[in-house]
């Protein structure tokens, strides 16, 4: 499983490096969304860092959904999908590999957008740096949940149902825990209490993905 995971992660990241979708589409989208969020709050409230954690994770959720759609598209063309299916790759390994690749992409985007929260939303730099470990764990959990969501909303019968929409609340605990932990790091509470939730969620989504990805992808 680990061998397949490394193989798939390396392939997805290499494709990403070549296509530069992250550079030219995802990062600009995230930056623009963060900037618009600041503008929507108005100059008075955007200047207060209390809004920054929530806006950051909301934007990262949109970025996750966009990146997941891209990750699915790599394998989704009919010919590619069939050819890869005949390789008989372990589905748990494919899930892990896609999660690793997506995590790296979210970390890159997240690092840039964290800088954006400091510049645009005036989040405290020291607090933001203190939150970065927690943010990294939460983004990894978002990636795992995102890959599972992608399997539900990809080509197949599932995409024609409400299932993908109904799976969106699965992101809620991550948004809440991530926002609370980031807020705590900015000086409003206990950082690790919320960070633990992200860590538990990461383990839970990884376990679920390893068990269910093959079934979801096959359907």
């Amino acid at each position: 499983m680990i061998r397949v995971a490394l193989l798939v992660a390396a392939k997805d990241l290499r494709v990403e490096l070549r296509s530069r979708v992250l550079l030219w589409q995802v990062v600009p989208f995230g930056a623009m969304a963060l900037l618009l969020s600041g503008l929507a709050l108005g100059p008075a409230r955007a200047g207060h860092s209390g809004a920054a954690p929530g806006l950051f994770f909301l934007v990262m959720l949109f970025v996750t959904l966009l990146t997941v759609a891209r990750s699915r598209a790599i394998d989704a063309r009919a010919g590619t999908r069939d050819s890869i299916a005949t390789l008989g790759l372990d589905p748990g390994g494919v899930f892990l590999g896609k999660t690793v690749a997506l995590t790296v992409e979210l970390w890159v985007t997240g690092a840039l957008l964290l800088a954006g929260t400091v510049v645009v939303l005036h989040a405290n730099l020291a607090g933001t740096l203190a939150a970065s470990g927690n943010v990294a764990v939460t983004l990894a959990a978002l990636a795992a949940a995102g890959v599972l969501h992608g399997a539900l909303s990809g080509p197949g019968d599932g995409s024609a149902t409400l299932l993908p929409l109904l799976s969106l609340p699965a992101f809620a605990p991550l948004l809440i825990a991530g926002e609370r932990a980031y807020s705590a790091a900015l000086g409003h509470g206990a950082l690790w209490a919320w960070g633990t939730i992200s860590l538990v969620a990461l383990v839970a989504y990884l376990a679920l993905g390893i068990l269910l990805y093959g079934v979801l992808d096959e359907s």
Binding site: V4, L7, K11, R14, V15, R18, S19, I74, R77, A78, G79, T80, D82, S83, A85, T86, L87, G88, L89, E218
Partner: protein
Amino acid sequence: MSEFVASLNDALVVRSGFPLLSGVTLEVAPATLTLLTGPNGAGKTTLLQLLGGLVGLSGGSGQVCGVDLARDDRRALRRRVGWLGHDSSFYDDLSVRENLTFAAKALGRPLEDLAPALERVGLRDRSEVLARRLSAGQRRRLGLAWLLMRRPELWLLDEPYAALDEDGRRFLDGLFADVVAAGASIVVSAHDHLGATLGAVNTVHLVGGRVESRS
């Protein structure tokens, strides 16, 4: 143990409530070439997908490479067949070599198999070119290199002659003859008849998801 590489009996494939194949009976003996013909929408691609474990059997029975299509996990079958669809089968943003390396590692094949496969399909000089920059015919050859590396028991090829020039067609005829001589079986769909140099070919003509005639 069946004497056939693949056998279908009254096979039915239904997708979204619509029967794509109905009452199809087919036998593929070892080291033979079977040609599927028929108009668009006749079910040629679906039949190839069924033989490759890419779609499930909705009714009837069948076995391919010892895997029971009705009872066994069809994922077990997929590693044993070689599939070349008429759509692009590769990662456009990876080079020829990177695509084949990915396949070789996934299958646990030695990377030393890459060079002979590329040489055989005439892509040795294009190994560092991105798949998206290949012509349609070269992409077809890349798919064949993928299959050569896999050495499957059963080759399933959907419209492999499409987009090939006369040289490409002759190359494909020669490759098919070698594969059959080596003991593997080939099932191929094509609008035209195969090359005259291929010798005995079992032809199955499909219309509307049913076998209309065979020769």
